[in-house]
Amino acid sequence: MAERSGMVEKRGAGHWFTHLGLIVGVLIIFFPIWLAFVASTVTQPEIVKPPMPLWPGGHFFENYRSALVSGINAPVARMLGNSLVMALGIALGKIAISLLSAFAIVYFRFPGRRLFFWLIFLTLMLPVEVRIVPTYEVVAGFGMLNSYSGLIFPLIASATATFLFRQFFMTVPDELAEAARVDGARPMRFFLDILLPMSRTNIAALFVILFIYGWNQYLWPLLITTDPQMNTIVMGIKQMFPSGDDVADWPVIMATSILAMVPPIVVVISMQNLFIRGLVDSEK
């Protein structure tokens, strides 16, 4: 390839310094994760005896099996499953609901259309924490404590995603909807055949963000799940910490932490391409 000028392609000392800076940065950020990983591969006495080990020990399989199968309060495998159901439920549910509500707001003329849009928009200003007590009331009233629906439904409506899809739908030329009408597509057909495939990259980007949002929920699951079998992993880690004089089983806790990090990483890496495209271009 011909040498291109004007690109950010410096050579020489600057180049090395830049990389040195980046490497140091990565090491600093990565170090705690490395420590957690090391701690998950050694035995309890090795951790508590200073200095802390910096290289992995030989108990990797033992610790992880113990975490996955028995855990401390509940098996980690169970908590991973709960988290997965909750994160998927929140991500997919939010996407489905916001796609449909954006579709209604953009493509249909109904009385109070603007009012509804602004009402949805207004809820952007109310985070979960603000409405957590009344929400708890409602969920408890419906008998949804310690259930997946209780974990998912209160978090499923999303003003942000509705707004994002609304903005995207408004960039879709009107002629496309008209062409579909002339072609004989009823509204839902147009939505499924044309709008949905066109929003593919936006949906992917949103899925990544919402999956991580759902996965990292802490306060809400902590409130409504009292049964360890319903614990999600992010709150479960905290539940593993000993209270009082109990001895913390650090290798198992650390193994759990590492396991908790894996699904979001898998989601981000596997959807990386779509994710970036969804944020960068609108592919018209």
């Binding site: 030329p173 002629e175 496309l176 008209e178 062409a179 579909a180 009408r181 002339v182 072609d183 004989g184 597509a185 057909r189 055949d193 044309i194 495939p197 066109m198 593919r200 592919e283 018209k284």
Partner: protein
């Protein structure tokens, strides 16, 4: 195939009247072009026929059947949009066949119809491509293909060529004309380009301010404009308009005199029907357009053969024409029939 009838069709947006009652009878297989400046309501009229806009008054019927309250899909029409409106995520094949798929046409028949249309439009090599991988002209053809495969009663075209470059526009114009002749489908075509209107139309409708000023064969409209607007809009360069007072002899009853640039010639200063000063000349090769300023301050254009001497700016000239070529208008801008309307002979 089908006929199309518009009876006193009106459109109102809120309290604004956009179309003030248009009557039109389109014969089976006829190619009608609606032409007019932007904002004259021509696209709105077409969209009402398509069913994309509601009809505020009057009646539209296709093949004798009123369609005012039918959805676009039930009107048996197909439409080509200005920006093509192709589905960006679908291949050319899927774009063309989408309407048939919704109508639950059998797969084999869809394939056969798409193949025929693709052959007709020379799209065969591109059937698996996405619209963004096609050139403007090819996209235009895909949009046409989507309309053809439906085998509709009426074709509707909404300025389909205005996004193409000049050369391609001429080519596609010829293709559309040939295709329409071949298929013999009743067509309604909206454009602001009078050249498209002149070349494509069996009959043209000149719209102005929500009213159909004149409906007629292109050459007839050119030769016998019904209003001063039509005279000024059809024909390039535009017709010159003069008050009778600016002429050497009065014209009975006329408040405006129109004369086409191609019917005028420059003569020596002091001679001819009126006098002017040359402001500038455009030599286009085959012809020269001489722009003059009249004593009243009005502009006047003379179109002369490119071989004739080209006058300099600032020169005083006379302008002459055959008085029988004049088009006279009354105070309402309506044509005064001079009793010798020349139906132009088509070569």
């Amino acid at each position: 195939m089908a006929t199309l009838k518009l009876r006193n069709v009106k459109k109102r947006f809120g309290s604004t009247d956009v179309i003030h009652g248009v009557d039109l009878d389109v014969a089976d297989g006829e190619f009608i072009v609606i032409v007019g400046p932007s904002g004259c309501g021509k696209s709105t009229l077409l969209r009402m026929v398509a069913g994309l806009e509601t009809v505020s008054g009057g009646e539209i019927s296709i093949d004798g059947k009123p369609v005012n309250d039918l959805e676009p899909m039930d009107r048996d029409i197909a439409m080509v949009f200005q920006n093509y409106a192709l589905y960006p995520h679908m291949s050319v094949y899927d774009n063309i066949s989408y309407g048939l798929k919704i109508a639950k046409t059998p797969k084999e028949e869809i394939a056969a119809r798409v193949a025929t249309a693709a052959k007709m439009l020379q799209l065969e090599p591109y059937l698996q491509r996405k619209p963004r991988e096609l050139s403007g002209g090819q996209r235009q053809r895909v949009a046409m293909g989507r309309a053809i495969v439906r085998k509709p009663a009426v074709f509707l075209f909404d300025e389909p060529l205005s996004n193409l470059d000049a050369k391609l526009r001429v080519q596609m114009r010829l293709e559309i004309k040939a295709l329409q002749k071949e298929l013999g489908i009743t067509s309604l075509y909206v454009t602001h380009d009078q050249v498209e209107a002149m070349t494509l139309a069996d009959r043209m409708v000149v719209m102005h301010g929500g009213v159909a000023d004149q409906i007629g064969a292109p050459l007839d409209v050119y030769a016998n404009p019904a209003t001063s607007f039509v005279a000024g809009f059809i024909g390039s360069p535009a017709t010159n308009f003069l008050p009778p007072a600016a002429l050497n002899a009065p014209r009975d009853g006329a408040s405006t005199v129109g004369v086409r640039p191609e019917h005028t010639r420059l003569v020596h200063s002091g001679e001819g029907q009126t006098q002017g000063i040359v402001t500038f000349s455009e030599a286009l090769g085959a012809e020269t357009l001489v722009h003059l300023s009249l004593p009243s301050g009005a502009a006047f254009t003379v179109r002369q053969d490119g071989a004739l001497p080209c006058p300099h700016s600032g020169e005083h000239c006379g302008v002459d024409w055959d008085q029988s070529r004049e088009i006279l208008f009354d105070a309402d801008e309506r044509r005064i029939r001079q009793g010798r309307a020349r139906a132009a002979a088509c070569p």
